[in-house]
Symmetry: C2
Subunit: 134 residues, 2 copies
């Protein structure tokens, strides 16, 4: 029924056209059938799958993990535990990244606070950046 050209698929999933073609090239999504003239024609299954990839990307999953997830789903014999495993691992990765960034944030904030921001050439930020850590 719905035979979406790539532009419509892009509009409906929020995934860039170039990115869709890229995903196909690297095997993230299956190659769709083509029109007589060679243009890609997508259906609801492609839409669902691409939306899944998009959703995972928004949650920070790397492409190879998404591929693994899709393989699980495609296999049909996946267990909830396997999926939960991947999710928890990703959650931990996100938390680790946040922890890193929070250190950066505190340091930058302290540096900005130490600096009056005047037109004097002697800046405590530069001093801090040049200072040896540890």
């Amino acid at each position: 029924m719905a035979a979406l050209p790539i532009g419509k698929l892009a509009a409906r999933t929020g995934v860039n056209i170039e990115t869709i073609r890229y995903y196909e090239r690297i095997g993230m999504i299956p190659p769709p059938p083509r029109s007589a003239g060679g243009q890609r024609r997508y259906d609801e299954i492609h839409l669902r799958r691409l939306a899944f990839v998009r959703r995972c990307r928004e949650l920070g999953f790397p492409l190879d993990q998404i591929r693994a997830l899709l393989d699980l789903v495609d296999g049909g014999d996946y267990t909830c535990a396997e999926v939960r495993e991947a999710t928890v691992r990703q959650l931990e990765a996100v938390r680790a990244r946040i922890a890193d960034l929070r250190i950066m944030e505190r340091t930058l904030d302290a540096m900005a606070a130490a600096c009056a921001g005047g037109s004097v050439p002697d800046c405590p930020i530069i001093d801090a950046l040049f200072a040896d850590r540890r």
Copy 2:
């Protein structure tokens, strides 16, 4: 006095050898003098400068911003306000990134909580990933 070969510089700054050569190639650090046989020999000035770059990278500054910062310092006529500007902008970038990641964190956490993790093949995480946002 101190004529450090690249390996020692790497050890003292915590910057990978390959990365040091890369920084030189892209003009982040000046090319050092060479030994008779063509090997790089660094001094304290190089050490300080590389440590500065390292410190900025740890704080998440992109290389071109670090370059701008170094240009400011090299010019000698920088003002505290300019440096503070760059720092505050970087702080904002870090905070924006944290905000993004916290959304991911909450979503992943909710998904993991919704999932019992049993060996049943019907997984609420997969359902959530396939569900339309909005």
